[in-house]
């Protein structure tokens, strides 16, 4: 699925310090019934965001106009649980391009990268610093520089390097996806398949 290229993102951020945010919270199963990929942003964090009568819950961060931006900052073990890529779609569709946490669940991380969201894993200390900075000033900006692999709190210049696999980095910067790559080696795959015993 094509997505926008990612190089340098400068934005305010939305803080969500809860730990173990699982994909059932990001997008509850009952919203997985679509056969298309659009519109999931409306149901992002549905049950945290809305009351049963569909009125917004005032105390939930996405309903608080103070916090805006293309970066979502989450607590440890973000994206655990089900493999539903819908969770990543919902985050992307809502308008986030980057999720920051001190730890990501594996499948979520893979799904995010596959659809053009950059998961940035920072140290627990740096994560705490980001949360503190946003709390002190919700207009504080972060800069995520993918080519340099840095994340910076612009107000203080505080910065940290993050890791990303070189292949995925290249894909994100160029807006490529894995299928483009795999289709280019079709012949090799077919030959390999012939060697399988089952």
């Amino acid at each position: 699925m094509a997505y926008d290229k990612f190089t340098i993102l400068r934005s305010t951020a939305v803080p969500m310090p809860a730990e173990n945010v699982d994909t059932d919270q990001i997008i509850p199963a009952r919203f997985l019934k679509a056969t298309e990929r659009t519109g999931f942003g409306d149901n992002l964090f549905r049950d945290w965001r809305y009351n049963n009568d569909d009125s917004p819950k005032a105390d939930f961060v996405l309903n608080n106009p103070t916090y805006r931006g293309q970066i979502l900052v989450g607590g440890k073990n973000f994206g655990s649980g089900s493999s539903r890529e819908h969770a990543a779609w919902a985050i992307y569709d809502y308008g986030f391009r980057c999720v920051v946490s001190s730890f990501f669940a594996d499948i979520f991380k893979g799904n995010a990268l596959n659809i053009g969201i950059l998961p940035v894993q920072v140290s627990p200390e740096f994560l705490a610093r980001i949360f503190a900075a946003i709390e002190a000033d919700p207009t504080t900006e972060l800069e995520v520089n993918l080519p340099e692999q840095t994340i910076t709190l612009l107000a203080t210049g505080n910065s940290e390097l993050f890791a990303i696999n070189g292949y995925k980095k290249n894909n994100l910067i160029n807006g490529y996806d894995d299928i483009d790559y795999l289709l280019s080696m079709k012949h090799e795959i077919e030959e390999f398949a012939d060697t399988r015993p089952f």
Binding site: R30, G81, S82, S83, F103, G110, I115, K168, K186, P197
Partner: protein, 466 residues
């Protein structure tokens, strides 16, 4: 001599077509399962690229995630679910993929029907857009859940791009006590290492307990690997695994089977193979388990108290919020807590052995009046076996009814939803907030613990009823 390999290394390395520099491996997939929820968008993508399915005979489709568990012969009432089921049927037909839709005699939960029909074999790589694909690891396959982009990738190229996970071994030695089932082993391990304790790893299970375990039990444990954060888990294939598969409908037959046996016999760790993490547990310390919180790591022995937050690694605000959601408090005893629902089913515990265990407790007793019970077989084959073995009679005499196969209350996409605030003892795999319906409170447990709760109406130690 080359470096000794683990079981995981052997199977992984045999499927790498190419190493990408500073990138993932191009990884070949032997078998691919699809279902109605995570495949439609993948097919849309395929259509958008104008790409064919590369090897349609390597993919199998079954409808399970949002199918009703009553009146399956009638049209599906929910238009959105019906739409997804129709899309699966349409895509399967268009791309020439085997499709076991609603009502098909092979229909059932994807991770139940794969092994039961002999599609799953040792040494395979298996993926599906469902995280509990790890179930198939019980046979010595590398099996894991993937996202929809990857479903599209496998359809188009039979490959995915994967970095190789780290290796972890979990050994459980000794003999399991009375009333302790494979589900308890899994919940116990997760409670010890936490719901993220194996993130980044692929687990190999070793030790007497797994060697002596049935295939159904191994599937339960491998299924729950994902709940400790692991990508998957596997058990070295042995005679128990081969006996289970031999003669199954789609398993290789005769000479084809015989030719594979020598290869399968090599599927065990080499002497001296090392793991990045190597954990050992003692079977004797495991008692029947139950969860009290909102992730599968928040579990304890059924006779125990809810731990104090301060004693937990993640004991802070999240812990308190979780207990609050459950309506529990630190230090409370689990035994005696009233419950409202019991769910026996899912790809974790929806197999014949699970129904046998459940029936062993409810036999000669009556369902508690305050309990609504959903007993959902994992497949039509399991359903038929329940009837053939006389288990259905036992269940009915005890006041239970049997529903039709599907994922059901495991993820509550159909009508089987636990109402807000109600307590459900469930044999499924996830107790996340709202997993079994908005506001639902889930206590994960084994079929024995579920049965004990179903006949007493409260959390009960099943050993008291054995």
């Amino acid at each position: 001599m080359s470096t000794p390999k683990t079981l995981f290394d052997k199977v992984w390395d045999a499927h790498v077509i190419r190493h990408v520099d500073d990138g993932p491996d191009v990884f070949f997939i032997d078998r691919h399962f699809i279902h109605e929820v995570t495949s439609p968008v993948a097919f849309l993508g395929l259509e958008g690229r104008n790409a064919p399915v590369m090897f349609s005979e390597r993919t199998y489709a079954t409808a399970d995630h949002n199918t009703p568990t009553l009146n399956q012969h009638l049209p599906v009432a929910d238009p959105l679910s019906a739409n997804q089921l129709a899309a699966l049927q349409r895509n399967a037909t268009r791309y020439n993929i085997s499709h076991w839709g609603l009502g098909h005699q092979k229909n059932g939960i994807v991770h139940v029907v794969g092994p039961e029909n002999g599609i799953t074999l040792p040494g395979m790589t298996i993926v599906c857009g469902d995280s509990h694909t790890s179930t198939h690891g019980a046979f010595g396959a590398i099996a894991f859940g993937i996202g929809t982009s990857e479903v599209e990738m496998v359809l188009a190229t039979q490959c995915i791009m994967q970095p190789k996970p780290q290796k972890m071994r979990i050994s459980v030695n000794g003999t399991l006590g009375k009333g302790v089932l494979p589900k308890d082993v899994a919940l116990y391990i997760i409670s010890q290492i936490s719901a993220s304790g194996a993130t980044g790893y692929f687990v190999e299970y070793a030790g007497d307990v797994f060697r002596n375990m049935s295939m159904e039990g191994r599937m339960t444990v491998c299924n729950m690997s994902i709940e400790m954060g692991a990508r998957g888990g596997m058990v070295a294939p042995d005679q128990t695994a081969l006996n289970y598969l031999n003669g199954r409908d789609l398993a290789p037959k005769g000479e084809a089977w015989d030719k594979l046996v020598p290869y399968w016999e090599t599927l065990k760790p080499d002497e001296g193979a090392t793991f990045a993490r190597d954990l050992t547990f003692d079977a004797a310390t495991i008692e029947p388990q139950i969860t009290y919180g909102t992730n599968p790591g928040m579990g304890t022995g059924v006779t125990k108290q809810i731990p104090l937050g301060v004693s937990m690694k993640d004991g802070g605000a999240s812990y308190q919020k979780s207990l609050q959601y459950m309506g529990f408090a630190e230090n409370e005893t689990m035994i005696g807590k009233p419950i409202d629902f019991v769910f026996l089913g899912s790809c974790t515990n929806g197999r014949i052995e699970d129904f046998r265990a459940f029936a062993s407790i409810v036999k000669g007793r009556q369902k508690a009046d305050n309990v609504t019970a959903w007993l959902v077989p994992g497949s039509h084959i399991v359903e038929a076996q329940i009837k053939a073995e006389g288990i259905l009679d036992i269940l009915m005499e005890a006041g239970f009814e049997l529903r039709q196969p599907g994922c059901s209350a495991c993820l509550a996409m159909n009508d089987d939803k636990v109402p807000a605030g109600k307590y459900a003892v469930s044999t499924s795999n996830r107790n996340f907030e709202g997993r079994q319906g908005p506001g639902a409170r889930t206590l994960l447990a084994s079929p024995l613990v579920a049965a004990a709760a179903a006949v007493t109406g409260v959390v009960t130690d099943p050993r008291q009823l054995m």
